[in-house]
């Protein structure tokens, strides 16, 4: 029998502990032109945390989606407690007690938090009508029990992403479960919330539930996992107790190579020419009197805790969002407020945090995504010269080694790192002077990260001023020439890389 956290005591051993909770044997999955999984095995023991690791495109998500009934498998078998099962739809999977916390928020934004938690099966009273009172009480009790501070009566879409992520996690726990899968559950949680999550995971394993934990954050894996399975290019590479791994062996298994230096610096020292100058910048909602300069060939890093105003700053300086006061000067030209067109014309571009909604056009091919900002330069008599356009894009594909089957490939089929490179190409093609990069490595694995870092280094090396917004301190310390720290919309400190330490940065970020 499966168990659930709301109704079980602290140690209800109702799950058969002698058999594997779930076994996947010889799983194959092909997509057109790609082998996503090739003969992959996975065995989950009840009451254990099993980390699933691998670079983007290694097959983790595909494996989870097969488990969840989102995709069908081409070959292989799945057994639950020794019994072979046929999972054809998400419903089959849920019935078997497999609960997945997906990486992308899967909630109905118009519903209340409480309703979303019971989406999978509404408790009903007499005559089959929904028992709303039970839904409210149980969801409040669930949040209390796991220690998350979320209002069950709030409209889900009105909550910040981090709270939505907590709702997702709580939802997986509201019903009886045998296996709980968490795909990057901590990507927008604070350290405090992460430790609450780990307490919950330990409670789940105490109930005999098997937990699959997918994360790129190695320290989390070492803290919570019992066993680690590594996938690479759709193949099973290793399954070991976590104690037999070190950071290095794990990275080596994941990438198939050693990454000695995550931050290779190839570029020379920063130039002296001011490419971007911001003075007294304020916006209606967040920013207060922000002033700084970025020089050609320099990486200027911005650090700030959640809500410090980094994203707002990024959007304001490229002219995306309106400003109330202050001036922005790019390469000697004033940028009119709220004017992306001129911004692009003057040579400033934004790589956004949210690639899917603000940067990529998923259904369009690679070359159109790359050429979007510079269509004018390929135009002849008002029509785009396709041959010229493709040739220009091909140069960037070669230069950045963008992995794509062809220029006509839909960009949504590319891996995250390669999508990122296409976006960078878009702005480089436009003849950029300044590039603003907002959280470039969110949700990206170690291997792709090092490529992105190399790319940023290269952008600065080509004489661009790079303004890098990041919440990852090591990233800033490794990449930036200078680090600016923000707190509640203000600039609280600016320091050179040599004088910066984690403590100094954090002190300035707290304000």
């Amino acid at each position: 029998m499966p168990a659930d956290i709301l109704h079980a005591g602290e140690s209800a051993g109702t799950i058969d502990q002698t058999m594997p909770a779930l076994e996947m044997r010889g799983i194959d999955k092909r997509f057109p032109g790609v082998v996503a999984l090739d003969n992959v095995d996975l065995t989950l023991q009840p009451g254990k945390v099993h980390a699933l690791m691998g670079e983007n495109g290694a097959g983790k998500s595909t494996l989870i989606k097969i488990m969840a009934g989102v995709y069908g498998k081409d070959a292989g078998i799945i057994r639950i407690q020794g019994r072979e099962v046929d999972i054809k739809s998400p419903r089959d999977s849920l019935k078997e007690g497999i609960k997945v916390v997906f990486q992308e928020i899967a909630l109905i934004s118009e519903f209340t938090v409480a309703e979303n938690i019971f989406l999978e099966g509404y408790p009903t009273g007499k005559g089959g009508s929904i028992d709303w009172k039970k839904i409210r009480n149980d969801s409040a009790a669930l949040f209390k029990r796991i220690g998350f501070n979320v209002d069950p009566a709030a409209r889900t879409g009105s909550l910040p992403v981090s709270q939505q992520q907590m709702v997702e996690i709580a939802r997986a726990l509201a019903h009886e479960a045998r296996v709980v899968v968490m795909d990057e559950p901590t990507s927008s949680l604070t350290p405090n919330e992460v430790s609450l999550l780990f307490t919950v995971i330990r409670r789940l394993t105490g109930l005999g539930i098997a937990v699959v934990y997918v994360s790129h954050k190695l320290d989390e894996v070492f803290e919570i996992a019992d066993t680690v399975t590594v996938l690479r290019d759709g193949r099973h590479i290793s399954t070991k107790p976590v104690g037999e791994h070190t950071n290095d062996t794990l990275i080596q298994d994941m990438t198939g190579r050693r990454i000695d230096n995550l931050f290779p610096r190839q570029r020379g020292p920063a130039g002296t020419k001011v490419a971007l100058s911001v003075e007294g910048l304020s916006t209606a909602k967040k920013l207060k009197d922000v002033s700084f300069e970025a020089r050609a060939g320099e990486v200027l890093g911005f650090f700030g805790l959640m809500g410090a105003g980094r994203t707002e700053l990024a959007k304001a300086i490229v002219g995306y969002d309106p400003i109330t006061r202050g001036t922005i000067t790019i390469d000697g030209h004033r940028l009119a407020p709220h004017d992306t067109r001129t911004g692009v014309g003057l040579g400033i571009g934004l790589l956004t945090e949210d690639r899917k909604t603000e940067g990529l056009m998923g259904e369009l091919p690679v070359y159109q995504n790359a050429s979007l900002a510079s269509l004018g330069s390929f135009a002849r008599l008002g029509f785009v010269d396709k041959a010229k356009e493709r040739k220009a894009v091909q140069e960037y594909v070669d230069r950045f080694r963008i992995k794509t089957p062809g220029l006509g490939q839909k960009i949504k089929n590319l891996s995250g790192g390669n999508q990122q490179k296409v976006l960078i190409s878009r702005w480089l093609m436009r003849g950029l002077k300044v590039i603003v990069v907002d959280e470039p490595t969110r949700g990206i694995d170690v291997g792709a990260k090092s490529e992105i870092f190399a790319l940023i280094d290269r952008l600065a090396g080509e004489g661009l001023a790079v303004v890098l917004m990041s919440s990852e301190m090591p990233e800033l310390l490794g990449l930036a020439d200078r680090i600016a720290v923000m707190c509640e919309g203000r600039l609280t400190a600016t320091m050179s890389r040599d004088e910066a330490t984690q403590e100094k940065i954090l002190n300035a970020a707290i304000g």
Partner: protein, 333 residues
């Protein structure tokens, strides 16, 4: 609104009570309806009388009944514009069977069976074959309209059976006050509004319209939900068609012309989003009543039909634009 949401609202803190009340679509619409009625009560002769009010309710009952189905299909994220033609078509099996057998029950059963088949075809092509519902129901609209025309030609097929119970449907009134057609519409409205709010299937419709992929991941059979929504819509249009046939007393090819657009307009005015997942049947009902009282009042003022159309059209666009602006502000961008 329902217990659940009022309890939640009461617990919420923030803007003033009135501001929060107005944020509810239904409350703003109710206010509009009251204003419309108040305005014409002072300006139009004979507007504010029990007789006129109940008459308007009777006239609104067709759109109310079919509007339930229209709103449900909208909420599921699809559209159904075949209801006007279905309304006309349904009179054929109904009247032919009644004329042959002299039985209202058999006639109504035949009509419902016909509606069921139409709903199944719409639903199957949309949900299981995957054709855009606008195209499917647009096609169905022409097929049905053409079909009736083929059968009847220019003439109308009269109701020769003249059954008492059938005629009661057109001019009978409960307690001599409320038209039976309105009683039927209100019962259906309450029943389906309850389903949409308090039955798991109703919530599944909202979930499917709100985010199809999320609904699938939650274990819902998205295609089945949509399929059933089209059947509900067709059956409710059939009920409206039966009432219309009773009123007209015949089957004819011009019945219910442009009816689908009146219903769509009222539904959209009532705050039901074409994008799916948003809106309520109460909102739709208020939208229907606002438009019905408006056209009745404008007629009372002696305004020609042409002007009624122009004014109605402008109000719909203004209402939806206002709603969109409000929603954008609520989402903070």
């Amino acid at each position: 609104m329902t217990n659940a949401s009022t309890a939640i609202d009461a617990a919420a803190t923030g803007p003033s009570f009135v501001a929060r009340l107005l944020r509810h679509q239904e409350m703003a619409l109710l206010l509009c309806l009251v204003l419309v009625i108040a305005f014409f009560s002072f300006t139009a002769e004979n507007f504010f009388s029990v007789r006129n009010m109940t008459n308007v309710l009777g006239q609104a009952s067709l759109a109310l009944t079919a509007g339930i189905g229209c709103a449900i299909v909208f909420i599921s994220g699809e559209v159904d514009i075949s209801i006007g033609s279905l309304l006309a078509t349904i009179a054929l099996p109904l009247i032919i069977i009644m004329n042959e057998t002299g039985s209202l029950a058999l006639g109504v059963s035949g009509a419902l069976l016909f509606g069921l088949i139409v709903g199944c075809i719409n639903g199957y092509l949309t949900a299981y074959v995957g054709i855009n519902s606008l195209i499917v129901t647009l096609g169905m609209m022409f097929v049905l309209r053409g079909g009736v025309y083929l059968y009847t030609g220019q003439r109308a097929i009269p109701d020769d059976a003249m059954l008492d119970s059938f005629i009661l449907l057109s001019d009978g009134r409960l307690f001599n006050v409320i038209p039976y057609s309105a009683v039927i519409a209100l019962i259906l409205l309450f029943a389906f509004a309850y389903m949409m709010r308090h039955r798991p299937f109703g919530r599944q419709i909202y979930a499917v319209g709100g985010n199809q992929e999320v609904a699938r991941l939650a274990g819902y059979d998205v295609r089945r939900v949509k399929f059933i929504c089209f059947i509900i819509s067709a059956l409710l249009a059939t009920v409206a068609g039966i009432i219309l046939a009773a009123r007209v007393g015949s089957a004819q090819h011009t019945a219910g012309l442009n009816f689908e657009f009146q219903v769509v307009a009222a539904t959209v005015l009532g705050g039901v989003s074409l994008a799916g997942g948003i809106g309520s049947l109460w909102g739709m009902a208020l939208g229907v009543l606002i438009l019905q009282f408006l056209s009745n009042g404008l007629r009372g003022l002696g305004l020609p039909t042409e002007w009624q159309l122009v004014i109605t059209g402008m109000i719909i666009i203004a209402a939806v634009a206002f709603d969109e602006a409000k929603r954008r502000r609520a989402n903070g961008g």
